[in-house]
């Protein structure tokens, strides 16, 4: 296990990132901890908390996931995917909005759902699961607004300026949506163990997390056709995260949460994306080796 941690730290250093990781064997409770209790900025990983809250509201009968909502093209929260970039008005069910939110991290879909569910309900849902250090303090649109305000007149181009990076509120866990790696694996384990809602709702959530399209982070560490990977990423300048569950055909199920910060503010850093997968595999291998040797 020490060996796994040493190799995980070396992998983070090679990729030029500071990494926090927690890996949890969902069935035995065995775990691996590299800074797992450090506060981290969740960024779009918080869409997972919103998904859980949405299903909890549906289970309680306070909303109907098949209800259709209007998504007018103006006043959508910005983003590079999904409804956030689509040009015309749309009408989608709440659960299809949830699909866009998880599959492509659609910020517009997420804020439409958040408008419906409310921040307090998201926090109540994570509270109920005992996640006391997980907090949503603003919508995704509000988070992007702080980014824009802190970047100043230089816009996105200013995000490579060290002075700007040092003052971004969106990168300070005390002032933005936050959690810890350990609380995120606990949340995933609850979804996989049917404890975050009814079995039916948990299955629906697992389905969406498995439909996430991004191959470059967690999934890149498991280039095995017989291994199932489901997860949710989160990204901000210097921040690259993913939390997810890796399932082996022998029944082994592992929740892994990896949160990283790069020293380099560049947007395109493929090694920093890939190390999330590498570190996750080293962690899962560590847990599986421990199980094999009893």
């Amino acid at each position: 296990m020490t060996d796994a941690l040493t190799r995980i730290r070396a992998a983070f250093a090679d990729a030029g990132v500071t990494g926090r990781l927690h890996a949890l064997d969902i069935d035995t409770g065995a775990q691996l901890d590299e800074g797992a209790d450090q506060p981290v900025c969740t960024a779009s990983v918080h869409k997972l908390c919103l998904l859980v809250a949405l299903h909890r509201e549906a289970a309680a009968g306070r909303l109907d996931l098949t209800e259709r909502v209007d998504c007018p093209p103006d006043a959508r929260t910005k983003g590079p995917t999904g409804l956030a970039v689509m040009l015309d008005s749309a009408r989608l069910s709440l659960r299809d909005l949830a699909y866009l939110m998880i599959a492509v991290s659609d910020n517009a879909a997420a804020d439409l759902l958040l408008g419906r569910v409310g921040l307090d309900t998201v926090n109540a849902a994570t509270d109920r699961l005992g996640l006391t250090r997980t907090r949503a303090v603003h919508t995704f649109g509000e988070m992007l607004a702080t980014l824009k305000e802190d970047a100043g007149p230089g816009g996105a181009g200013a995000l490579t300026d060290p002075h700007v990076i040092a003052r971004l509120r969106a990168l300070d866990p005390a002032r933005t949506n936050r959690s810890t790696p350990r609380e995120m694996t606990r949340l995933l384990a609850a979804v996989w163990r049917d404890e975050a809602g009814t079995a039916e709702h948990c299955a629906a959530m697992r389905r969406l997390l498995a439909l996430q399209v991004w191959p470059h982070r967690l999934a890149s560490g498991f280039p095995f056709d017989d291994v199932h990977v489901a997860g949710k990423t989160g990204t901000l300048p210097t921040v690259r995260n993913e939390v997810g569950v890796v399932e082996y055909p022998d029944g082994g199920r592992y929740a892994v949460a990896v949160f990283t910060r790069t020293a380099n503010p560049a947007a395109a850093l493929p090694a920093a994306d890939a190390v999330i997968g590498t570190a996750a595999r080293l962690a899962v291998d560590g847990l599986r080796a421990r199980q094999a040797t009893g």
């Binding site: 960024a43 995917t81 303090v137 060290p162 040092a166 509120r169 020293a263 947007a267």
Partner: protein
């Protein structure tokens, strides 16, 4: 009224938009926090927040005062840092560090500039890599450093970022030495000499990316830092190095001359021409050259007068003796869909 403490409460509530979260962040209970905000509002005669049953939002008047409140808090931090220095018997001692790649003239100019303003202060100066500086700054074993960007700036305050453009050191008889400016893509047959990665990993990666962007992906990277060692590799190992212009001037004047002076080189007093050793030449990189970006850096809230004076002296010395210029605006940034954020 303890103004500083009340302003901390004001800023925390403004940033959290929530009394409970602000109280948690300040490590206090919610009722006394509410009382402090009310007291501050009474004293100032200004309503800072609108409160509803569900949330608290800052008023237009509150927003006007927020920036000044933050500034005042930063000044008070700086004041406390100075007091700490005095109390801890460190009066008269500033622990500072410089990277190993600054020209001697820059180090001398920095020291002169600093002494002119703080003749009474003892300066404990170390030569440390960016990585070592960041570790010591975080441990408060260093008051200020001069680091290479990009690096992890979490918890740091920075002086102005200054840029030193890099050229290429290559053998005088290389065909590229005949060019006024060398395109990176023309170097593809050469290995690249770089400093060891651990001394500034993000910069190391960034330089390799800049080379790749310019069409130069070296088949292998050789590690070296000392001027003589690098020169030896350039002369005999079919390798080139990236270096600022001043490196060319740094060679000892009595360095052995090339046994076979390049005809194209001799007689041309071109830029970066080695005064003493015509066997290795420095040439600018054509187009968008890679660069070193430096700034002073110190732990957040500890920027007292001595730290500020060192930061100013460093910036001034880099500008006047190392040809450093204010950092230019970044190249266009094309965010890709996986970026997830958008401005």
């Amino acid at each position: 009224m303890d103004l500083v403490r009340h302003l901390e409460c004001f800023v925390a509530v403004a940033e959290e938009s929530h009394f409970g979260r602000a109280a948690a962040r300040l490590g206090m209970a919610q009722p006394p926090l509410s009382q402090r905000i009310q007291r501050l509002e009474r004293e100032l005669g200004v309503r800072l927040f609108e409160r509803t049953s569900r949330q608290v939002t800052i008023t237009a008047a509150g927003r006007l005062l927020l920036a000044e409140a933050r500034e005042l808090l930063a000044r008070s931090e700086s004041f406390l840092a100075a007091a700490r220095r005095v109390r801890d018997g460190e009066k008269g001692l500033l622990r500072a560090a410089l990277p190993p790649d600054l020209p001697g003239e820059t180090v001398a100019a920095l020291l002169d500039g600093f002494r002119r303003r703080h003749a009474d202060l003892e300066l404990e100066l170390h030569e440390l890599s960016t990585t070592e500086q960041l570790t010591r700054l975080a441990a408060h074993e260093l008051d200020i450093g001069v680091v290479h960007h990009p690096c992890d700036v979490t918890g740091l305050e920075l002086g102005p970022v200054l840029r030193r453009e890099l050229g290429v050191l290559l053998p005088a008889d290389a065909p590229q030495a005949r060019l006024d400016a060398v395109p990176l893509r023309s170097l593809s047959g050469y290995d690249l000499i770089l400093f060891p990665r651990e001394s500034a990993p993000a910069l190391y990666d960034d330089l390799l990316t800049a080379c790749a962007r310019g069409g130069y992906t070296p088949a292998s990277v050789r590690h070296g830092q000392g001027t003589s060692f690098v020169r030896g590799l350039v002369l005999s190992a079919r390798a080139v190095a990236l270096a600022p212009r001043d490196t060319a001037r740094r060679d000892p004047p009595d360095a052995p001359r090339s046994a076979r002076p390049d005809a194209a080189e001799s007689g041309r007093p071109g830029p970066g021409r080695h005064p003493g050793s015509a066997d290795v030449v420095w040439r600018p990189v054509a187009g968008d050259p890679p660069a070193w970006r430096h700034s002073a850096a110190w732990p957040e809230g500890r920027g007292d007068a001595a730290v500020q004076a060192f930061a100013d002296a460093a910036a001034h010395a880099l500008r006047t003796t190392a040809g450093a210029v204010p950092d230019v605006p970044a190249r266009p940034l094309h965010l890709r869909p996986a970026s997830e954020f958008w401005l």
